[in-house]
Amino acid sequence: MTGILKFLLASHVLFGLLGVIYSYRVFFGLLREGANYRSLLRKSLWAVVSLVLSWFIGGYYYATYYGKAVRDVIKAGPYPWAHTVFMETKEHIFLIMPFIAVVVTVVLWAQGANLDKNPRLRKELALIAGVNAVLGIIVTLAGALISGAVR
């Protein structure tokens, strides 16, 4: 793997983790009334940016290197199912996450402090932000497992 590809892989992981962390912080922030909704909106926007960057970088790495160099190694090794189950699940769950992050951002922008008057909406927004954080954790763990399968 060239230096650039290593950098891209590390960037993909870093931005993905940032997306998860920001999603989690939005989830946690929405659990209580009187939150700083402007701050949560900023965090949510950073979640979108991070996830989209991770998307593009990971997509480039996947299309130009993983398919040729890594997938075949895993499939020829003792854990061929690691690619089929975990990489395929990870890459397709990851397609879903940015859209959820956009929804959270738009609803925070549209409602802001109105969320204090609407506890049900605030809780549902927290739930979807939490779902995105959990999906992100699953994707991260799957990525770690695939790295182990390569080694």
């Binding site: 997509g59 089929t84 189950v85 397609l95 959820i100 738009v106 609803v107 909406l121 927004l125 999906l135």
Partner: protein
């Protein structure tokens, strides 16, 4: 921007996200079950995963716009139930994807 427009935009993107998640799961399962679909995505977009991403983004944008333009009156009371639907669909979608790929790895 007035609150009415903001509520319409919020409803529009929530519905668009629901449709997009369903699309992603359906096209993922479909492409693996029907190789011609996967080949079509690969030939059009250089890689099937890139194709799914581009189509999903396009669908999300189109449905958002359509839902925004076709709402006569905003219904902010629908945001909470639609968000619950999105949470449910996203969770079920992830489970379906995992189960499908387990099936592909061990039972196909």
């Amino acid at each position: 921007m007035d609150q009415d427009k903001k509520d319409k935009i919020a409803i529009a993107v929530i519905i668009a996200a629901i449709v997009t998640v369903i699309f992603i799961v359906a096209v993922t399962v479909g492409a693996d079950l029907y190789p011609k679909l996967k080949d079509g995505l690969k030939n059009t977009f250089a890689h099937h995963w890139i194709g799914k991403g581009i189509l999903a983004a396009g669908l999300f944008a189109l449905v958002s716009l359509f839902m925004y333009l076709t709402q006569k009156n905003s219904r902010p009371e629908l945001e909470a139930p639609f968000l619950r639907t999105l949470s449910t669909i996203a969770s079920l979608g992830a489970i379906v994807l995992f189960a499908f790929f387990v099936y592909e790895a061990f039972f196909k």
